[in-house]
Symmetry: C2
Subunit: 342 residues, 2 copies
Amino acid sequence: MERRLNLEDVGRRAGVSRSTVSRVVNGGHVSSETKRRVEAVIAETGYRPHAAARSLASNSTGVIGLVIPSAAGTLFDDPYFGRLILGTSSATNEVGMTLALFLFGDGPDESSIISRVVTPGLVDGVIVTATTRGDPLIDHMQGANMPFVVVGRPDSAGSTFCVDVDNRAGARTAARHLAALGRSRPALIAAPSNTSAGIDRRNGFLEGLAEAGLSVEDRIEEGDWSQESGRTAMARLLAGQPDAVFVSSDRMAVGALRAVSEAGLNCPRDISVVSFDGIVPPDLTTPRLTSVVQPVTEVGERAVRLLTSVIGGAAAPEHVVFQTRLAVRESCGGAAPAETGA
Amino acid sequence: MERRLNLEDVGRRAGVSRSTVSRVVNGGHVSSETKRRVEAVIAETGYRPHAAARSLASNSTGVIGLVIPSAAGTLFDDPYFGRLILGTSSATNEVGMTLALFLFGDGPDESSIISRVVTPGLVDGVIVTATTRGDPLIDHMQGANMPFVVVGRPDSAGSTFCVDVDNRAGARTAARHLAALGRSRPALIAAPSNTSAGIDRRNGFLEGLAEAGLSVEDRIEEGDWSQESGRTAMARLLAGQPDAVFVSSDRMAVGALRAVSEAGLNCPRDISVVSFDGIVPPDLTTPRLTSVVQPVTEVGERAVRLLTSVIGGAAAPEHVVFQTRLAVRESCGGAAPAETGA
DNA sequence: GCCATCTTTGGGAGCGCTCCCAACCGTATT
DNA sequence: AATACGGTTGGGAGCGCTCCCAAAGATGGC
């Protein structure tokens, strides 16, 4: 295996200097005749510039990191993260960069991964998601002099760049829809209250109910995003005889549907179900879930674009908020106000 | 923002040379007194070595690439890839490396991503998966002088390192189980025949049936891994009045179950269903799916370990084959030979 | 007390690239 | 004809690190 060739070698073969070859590769000003000759040599030799050398000299790696600090084991049971990865990956490819994935487990390796994330010369910037309230990761990033964008709404929202969906407005829409359907004993399966999405969806739903003169009273349970938690939460709620329930995530809603049928009840006849996410393929459940759809892929794409602008030196912290959309299907028992923006 | 500090700076502060600091960082031989002093400076200044410089000098990046050339849009509808990413990610972290993700879309960017994968100085090696028969990507990798490992069974299995599961034996087990249950009109929903998994599962199932003196006759359809394709395949198969069906993937099986119930039939009473993968959470379906379970996470982990050995200079192409396990649940209508190794 | 040996340390060379400045060419301007 | 000026090109310097060799100091055997 002969030595890899470098700019100098290519230049020698083409009868030009290293610098000229570099210009051809990077699109600088070169006479067309020279350019043609150099390109011929490149094609013939299969020369490819060395990424590490480039990074070192240009102080930019062309790599974006996606950091998901979650109990890794169950991460992909929720299609949310897959979609987010998809969105970031496609946007990353589009801008000609590479995506590095940092998934934290619960292991002792966690802190070593965190420090790897902020290693200089590894990535140009980082997208952080799935953080909880008061997550030390955010502080760590801020102290590390590494461009980053948060997906979600961090505590320190004022001083960081972030991309989020309007969880609150979306949940409010769900409440209004249920109220419009004439349901009077709504229940809530909330998402973890140590996440901004969990808090916002809960508050939004309660607000929406209040507008309609309704209340969940004690018909409220908190799940942990898992299907099983949705199921047990629903089973407990059933004691309060709700006629509607807003479940803060698709995945928990699948569990809730199961609990409903296990209790011998029928959805939507006995109880309307509306979920949040719109990620689980509708055909997966019977009845198909009515849900507040959030544009996850777009969020991922936008996060990448925002990050590139931060890397490019964007100054003022910017917040991007995507709106949700209510997709009415069978589980709510009525196509009342049709699909409507949130 | 002052200049990043480098080895030289740290050395100056600690009163030693660049080389000594390097030894402290990388665990070379240094007197304990010197070591203490240098470590103090590092802790105090928060010095972190520059990854690109390191890569350039040492000719090794510490990054592993995971390449999934699939129609990206539907990629994560199948939990398989999530699991695989999880497995590779955790093993990558364990060996102190970083994972880069290359997801191809169908876009025109595809070839540019392919070439990025083999860029020298970007990754040390690559794990390739989800390739089809005759996939040019494999050839491309072989020509590129880049260490790589294939997850699955490539055409050129003889000359490449790969990690696979014994699809054939697993499918055979499914056939035997169905036969043992007394089913006599088995059907097959195959996976795409341009993939080795599709071919092996089909052949394995047919072999297993033959051993038991059974045959699918014309009760065979091919799906495209999607839930919808499983549903339409099953709907068509129903005309042949099968009393059992082996579905080559969980996801297609979910669709098949739906078709069964839409036809007013009952699974498992009227028809036994056995699937392959064991990835969809059992509680997602009613009845819960009996399936041939493949250890996806372990496959991913093993692929990383194999790749590191290839990077380290492993010589003879090695094949790792994982065995599957039949998880008997309700969809097959009988706990006959219990859970059994394949 | 001298030389061989080991441990510890310093610094040169070089990885392959980008960035910048100077040199050079031919042509247009005065 | 002398000067000026774009368009091209070459090469020095340097990015921050690792690798290697040699120097210096410590130790021990004879």
